[in-house]
């Protein structure tokens, strides 16, 4: 169901390939993407390497080039490319699935045109939602009023929780996908509110489709599954908050 003010803080479509793709090809992808994503930064994984020559050990900070992260000027649309990944993400405000997935598909087409065929090893669709709940005069809030995926404690006279984070991973039961669910309480960026994060990550790593048509049919289906799981994880009281 499209909401007037969807609580999505970030939507992600990710395609991982076996790779590694060489730097020259990624540079070409980056240059082509600059038209839509003019802000570009190079990324590195930073590690510490300790060598043990005699007589003394030496520590060296090691930067491993990890690709590019590009974005539009408003810093809402991001494209991350690395030696084995293409990742498109969108921050709030969410423009709707059609616009988001179309943008992702355009980037994939461009990537494939330059990089050529690569074996796809994982396809992921992830949506991070933040549900901002007004506190009103309350000092305690019942999480189950808003989320159906949450933590429950035994009633043994413990005071209310002050924080929680829950993570679960399971097969989705459809399309041979995996589902990772996270929910957590977090300080709200709004005054007089508390926020709950509901993070849904669907992925497929077995028998991943390799043809473009099949890839995007799968991504569409993953989005439908995501919607189904999201709706099942929230209550009507939560829905009211972003339906107005």
């Amino acid at each position: 169901m499209p909401y007037p003010r969807p609580p999505i803080t970030e939507a992600v479509i990710e395609i991982r390939v076996q790779g590694p793709i060489d730097r020259e090809h990624l540079d070409r992808v980056q240059k082509r993407a600059l038209a839509r994503f003019p802000l570009s930064e190079e990324l590195a994984h930073v590690g510490l390497r300790v060598e043990f020559p005699t007589p003394a050990a030496q520590a060296k900070i090691q930067h491993d080039w990890a690709g590019y992260k590009l974005s539009n000027v408003d810093r809402t649309d991001f494209l991350s490319i690395g030696p084995n990944v293409l990742n498109v993400s969108r921050l709030s405000p969410y423009p709707g699935w059609e616009a988001f997935s179309l943008g992702a598909r355009q980037q994939w087409d461009e990537w494939k045109r330059i990089v050529g065929h690569q074996k796809i090893v994982r396809i992921g669709v992830r949506y991070i939602n933040r549900i901002d709940v007004p506190l009103l005069e309350r000092s305690v809030i019942d999480v189950e009023d808003y989320l159906t995926f949450h933590l429950t404690l035994p009633k043994i006279g413990l005071p209310a929780m002050t924080n929680f984070t829950v993570h679960a991973r399971m097969p989705l039961g459809s399309d041979d996908c995996q589902l990772a669910l996270n929910s957590a309480a977090t300080p709200s960026p709004l005054i007089g509110h508390i926020s709950f994060i509901l993070d849904l990550d669907l992925s497929k790593e077995n028998e991943v489709p390799q043809r473009d048509e099949d890839i995007w049919i799968l991504i569409e289906r993953m989005r439908d599954h995501k919607n189904h799981v999201f709706e099942a994880c929230i209550t009507d009281k939560a829905r009211e908050l972003f339906s107005r």
């Binding site: 003010r5 969807p6 609580p7 803080t9 970030e10 992600v12 990710e14 930064e41 990324l43 590195a44 994984h45 930067h63 080039w65 990890a66 690709g67 992260k69 974005s71 408003d74 809402t76 991001f78 991350s80 990742n87 993400s89 921050l91 709030s92 405000p93 991070i128 901002d132 309350r138 000092s139 305690v140 809030i141 019942d142 999480v143 189950e144 429950t152 404690l153 035994p154 009633k155 413990l158 005071p159 209310a160 929780m161 002050t162 924080n163 984070t165 993570h167 996270n182 957590a184 309480a185 977090t186 300080p187 960026p189 709004l190 005054i191 007089g192 994060i197 993070d199 972003f242 107005r244």
Partner: protein, 214 residues
């Protein structure tokens, strides 16, 4: 079974907003203890997303003023994204145009201070809380604090957004041709109350802009 959550009234540090708070327990020496801690740390890393990725930008140290202004504009827009679902689209676009103009290299003086992130976050929180239908003019104080100003005829209201949800406000309000002046420092959640005696609708409601929604 209980899923009651106690509300923490203490304002957390800026970087804690919207982030899952994973607390690492006392560290034991058994394999199981270390495995639990690692799982918690993994969980914290797992919830980081590509846009806020853990990889490090290469050459991220801005040196020229042009680069620093560019980075600041980008950082403030990223902060806005955290609350963009509560801002009307036109409000947000207008805010971005104001930021582009405010942090434009052509009009930048070397002695100006870049906008302070914490002050900008106070500004966003105040705007969504107060919900003025009329957009303010935005400027920067000498110390980089964001200053929001509304003027209607001779009536002026200026709010300097300080870090940690504080606001310094100054107003001049004409009622029956008598000018009242007032100033104060208040937490932003008290702004509606402290301005109420001066009928702030004259600044906030006298427009056609859509108010932020919560």
């Amino acid at each position: 079974m209980s899923s009651a959550l106690e509300i923490q009234r203490k304002r957390p540090a800026l970087e804690k907003f919207s982030a899952p708070l994973v607390t690492v327990p006392s560290i034991g020496i058994s394999r199981e203890s270390q495995s639990t801690v690692q799982k918690l740390l993994d969980l914290r890393m797992h919830m980081v997303t590509p846009a806020y990725s853990q990889t490090v930008p290469i050459g991220a140290d801005s040196t020229t003023i042009e680069e620093r202004l560019f980075d600041k504009r980008a950082a403030l827009k990223m902060k806005t994204a955290a609350v963009a679902m509560h801002l009307d689209g036109e409000w947000r676009n207008s805010l971005f145009r104001q930021l582009d103009s405010l942090l434009d290299v052509q009009s930048w003086d070397q002695s100006d201070q870049l906008a302070d992130d914490a002050s900008f976050f106070t500004f966003l929180r105040m705007i969504i809380f107060v919900r003025p239908a009329r957009r303010p003019g935005i400027g920067l104080g000498y110390n980089g604090n964001v200053v929001a100003a509304w003027t209607t005829g001779r009536n002026r209201l200026t709010i300097e957004c300080l870090p940690r949800d504080q606001a310094r406000w100054v107003l001049a309000r004409f009622i029956d041709d008598d000018c009242e002046r007032a100033a104060g420092i208040s937490p932003i959640h008290r702004i509606p109350e402290v301005l109420a005696p001066y009928a702030p609708e004259i600044w906030f409601s006298n427009g056609t802009d859509k108010a932020p929604t919560v």
